[in-house]
Symmetry: C2
Subunit: 387 residues, 2 copies
């Protein structure tokens, strides 16, 4: 049995114990788990069972578990804890982990923790000096090949340093190059995971720190905003179709086939958008290569536009026995795929200039463009050539 | 100036030198970069300039650069290298990095590399033993708190181990627990980054290892497959609309408003889909909580369906002065948002059972469902109540 399956089996057993109220057995089991496993378990439990489990977690690992759980789950757990319990929970935690946690704690707790930290910190530095040969100079003991990271460096920049230089840890310094603390690679791994989940989830208007078991009304109102933005763009598309009422009234086949062109434009545009958004994030687009990339994306749009235009023209003729509407569908497809390629290139660059996250807004803006252009090209050509 | 900006300025300068043909200055500059920076630079250059740059990279770092570049870019670089050059390039590389590279090399090179590796490996182990006190027992030197990883463990499992146990490195063993090698955290960071990019890019039918500067025809034909799959689903939607030709013929407003319901269903369904797909990947869904999660997603769909139904009914009345079509639009919206929630829950679980990657196929299957149900609900209710 592999390690993950083994853990999964353990978690299933623990879940059964919680459900059966066998709290003594559950307590033994939960406290044999790694703090991050306890965190995953808490996240996967509905609110009531989550509170039951949190009750039986040992105080020694409570702090480490709090560092690992998603923000919203953490807020819920902290709400039910008293000051003394909180101080006990964070006692003995690593300084960098503690820094993550402090912002979420009540002021009274923060104060007490910082006082106890002062003492702890002094012991810390002492022990480092004491483990070295007393005759050795500090200059010989310290490592000098590591570039220190200024304290005000953005997270994404730190990740970039760690990834590109294969670092395991790095000192954090203030403006006078005094060491304030350190960053270790396990924190960087967490940030990379968070960033990746952020890209995926923000494209659907979601936040990666949300609790899967948040109350229905809370989740519904959060997601409603994104639906509202989309409703606006859907009515924009409807307003375009509205301009062609008389054409549809005369040739109802236009209504039947009108979903095809916007849909294909959305897919082709998303392909360019994803490639460009990633290239921006990796710092791979610059004035020297931008025009070449745009030209390539547009040429891909032209080729796929022509290819699929011929295919749909034949398909439409076979279905409806009508060459005219097939030709119009094909022509509109070419137009929309070329526009989609240019939009997939230009939108993320424009959003970046406007300091809007392309991962959040790129998809909505793009599909608005490909919907409007798609309906306009197909129904417009239909109105011109079929009436 | 921050480290990343500094590097960016360096890369821009280097690019200018390449363009101006100042190869001597470029050679000095490129060989002062970290191998991963050279890799990023190669990826961001069009094919001709890329070949020019590769010419002037020092042989000592060629191997490390090859490990860092995207697969397709690497293939291009390897094509132009002779056997001797390849053997020289991989000489002195770390064993775990070398393993990544070997599969892409010609057989003649692989053989020679493996022979030289045997020697190197022996020296390696020797040096480890020699740096320890000669009177010390091996049992006391080795660390025993690390769980060894079996050689046939899947990549995702290894990542899970490293993330959840904050490991820096781990031994890899065969079935008899003999140590075959080790995995270090920098390799795991690369895998996490690749996995994240895979999720993002496969949703658009793309591969994260593709070269942004691949020839137009190659890129176009790759992306064509995804467009073809989408064309099939778009014609499926058209076939649904086709069933309601006579209704649209009588009430053309149905055609004007018909994009709204499928579009809203797609967005709401994607929200559920993203949440469930992520929960599956984190191992957070189990028979004990599945029904509760489904119930919650459906309730969110009901709430948002009702909320936006009231809003669009009012909006449609204000626009067209028609309560009937507003009511139908609202009712269809509620139906589609509930179906979308259930589909967003069920599709990734079903795909996982079928051993299909939910990140790849989830979006297409979902929007097919929300398109078909959306058109059917809106036009169907229209045909029943407006004719």
């Amino acid at each position: 049995m592999e390690a993950r399956e083994y853990t999964q089996a353990n978690l299933d057993l623990l879940r059964e114990q919680l459900e059966g109220g066998r709290m003594r057995a559950a307590r033994v089991m939960v406290n044999s788990l790694h703090p991050s496993e306890v965190a995953r378990l808490l996240e996967s439990l509905p609110l009531k069972k989550r509170a039951m489990l949190w009750e039986i977690v040992d105080h020694d690992i409570e702090g480490d578990v709090l560092v690992e759980v998603a923000d919203e789950v953490r807020d819920g757990l902290l709400e039910d804890m008293g000051t003394d319990e909180l101080v006990a929970a964070v006692d003995g935690m690593e300084v960098d982990d503690l820094a993550d946690l402090l912002v979420d704690l009540p002021e009274a707790v923060t104060k007490e923790v910082l006082q106890s930290l002062d003492k702890q910190d002094q012991e810390l530095f002492l022990s480092r000096l004491l483990t070295n040969d007393p005759d050795e100079m500090v200059a010989n003991v310290m490592s000098t090949d590591v570039m220190p990271i200024p304290a005000n460096t953005p997270e994404s920049e730190v990740v970039w340093e760690f990834e590109n230089r294969d670092l395991l840890s790095a000192p954090v310094v203030d403006d006078n190059y005094r060491v304030l603390g350190r960053i270790t690679v396990d924190d960087v791994v967490d940030v990379i995971r968070d960033e990746a989940e952020h890209s995926l989830m923000s494209a659907a208007g979601l936040d990666e720190e949300d609790d899967m078991f948040a109350p229905v009304v809370k989740s519904a109102s959060r997601r409603a905003i994104w639906l509202g933005i989309n409703l606006f763009t859907a009515f924009l598309a409807a307003a375009v179709v509205d301009q062609f009422q008389s054409a549809i009234d005369k040739v109802v086949l236009l209504a039947v086939l009108m979903p095809v062109v916007p849909s294909m434009g959305g897919v082709a545009g998303t392909q360019s958008l994803v490639i460009i958004t990633r290239a921006i994030a990796l710092g791979q687009i610059n004035p020297g290569n931008a025009m070449g990339i745009l030209r390539k994306e547009v040429m891909v749009g032209v080729l796929n536009g022509i290819g699929w235009a011929i295919f749909v023209a034949i398909l439409t003729f076979w279905w409806f026995g009508n060459w005219h509407i097939g030709g119009i569908l094909g022509a509109a497809m070419i137009i929309n795929l070329v526009v989609a390629a240019a939009a997939g290139f230009g939108i993320p660059l424009a959003l970046k200039k406007l300091r809007v996250d392309p991962a959040l807004a790129g998809g909505v803006v793009l599909t608005t463009v490909t919907d409007v252009v798609g309906y306009m090209a197909f129904l417009g050509l239909g109105a011109i050539y079929l009436l």
